[in-house]
């Protein structure tokens, strides 16, 4: 019984790969639009705002179904809320002034919650992902705007998609083991 109690709480990590895929998709479409000079008719980054709605819905649903409150739950919520607000302000600023250097700021912002979350959960792929975001943010200072989009897509890959897939795989493995 005590052995069963000692089981660690499994993190599903569904949100992480979803955001990873979105950032990769939006960055690659923006890059392709500049590279091949085509117009997709709408701002692809608006997808991020549409993704926020199901994200809020699932978060509220998950919170209602949750049977325990972990010590670090509120910390994580505050960190990601702060990140969301910063991204919103940065996107708003970008849409108003059309500043090309914003990708450096975005990548820097991506690194903050990723690095903190990785640190709190002692999850190395996320710590590494956060560091990668900051390294790419520095590189983007010296690269032209289209290349920044490729760097941003890589941030989505290393910071969220890969750690998210690792979390999801671990969750499935642990779920099978405890059936």
């Amino acid at each position: 019984m005590i052995g069963k109690v000692k089981q660690d709480y499994i993190k599903k990590g569904i949100a992480s790969p979803v955001w990873g895929v979105l950032v990769i998709l939006c960055s690659l479409v923006t890059w392709a639009r500049v590279q091949y000079n085509f117009n997709n008719g709408f701002d692809i980054w608006l997808l991020i705002f549409f993704a926020v709605i199901p994200q809020i819905y699932f978060s509220v649903k998950e919170k209602n179904q949750k049977k325990f409150v972990a010590h670090d739950d509120s910390t994580i919520t505050f960190v990601w809320t702060a990140f969301g607000i910063c991204i919103f302000i940065a996107t708003f600023y970008n849409s108003k002034y059309g500043n090309n250097v914003m990708s450096t700021i975005f990548m820097m912002l991506y690194g903050i919650p990723t690095f903190i979350t990785g640190g709190i959960f002692k999850f190395k792929p996320m710590i590494f992902g956060g560091l990668i975001c900051w390294v790419f943010s520095i590189i983007s200072i010296y690269t032209p705007a289209p290349i920044d989009m490729l760097l941003m897509a890589s941030c989505g890959l290393f910071a969220w998609l890969i750690p998210g897939i690792i979390l999801w795989t671990n969750y499935q493995k642990q779920k099978k083991a405890h059936v």
Binding site: M1, I2, V5, K6, Q7, K67, F68, V69, H71
Partner: protein
């Protein structure tokens, strides 16, 4: 000398409940039942004993029109668990207890 083990915590189910509660901020009764694999009646009795000892705080409320029991470890409970673990260590390393 071997230190005395807290009789409140020296029970499999109560120890399981305390070790679960120490790792979270608060937990639902159903969560504790699921994790400990205990029956509702037995778990309820053991939680009540922990409550009487001041080791846990029990909050009864309604959520979506259903009754809900939330359990939280208290400062006394955390201290008691730490003392219990230290006392148990004297049994594992008898030389250090001399």
């Amino acid at each position: 000398m071997f230190k005395l083990l807290d009789p409140i915590l020296h029970s499999q189910l109560r120890l399981a409940v305390i070790s679960l509660l120490i790792s979270v901020k608060e937990a639902d009764f159903t969560f504790l039942k699921e994790k400990t694999n205990a029956t509702a009646g037995n778990l309820s009795v053991q939680i009540n004993k922990l409550k009487e000892a001041g080791y846990v705080e029990v909050i009864k409320q309604f959520r979506n029109n259903y009754p809900q029991t939330i359990c939280k470890i208290t400062k006394t409970g955390v201290d008691a668990f730490e003392i219990y673990v230290k006392a148990l260590q004297t049994y594992m390393n008898p030389n250090s207890a001399v």
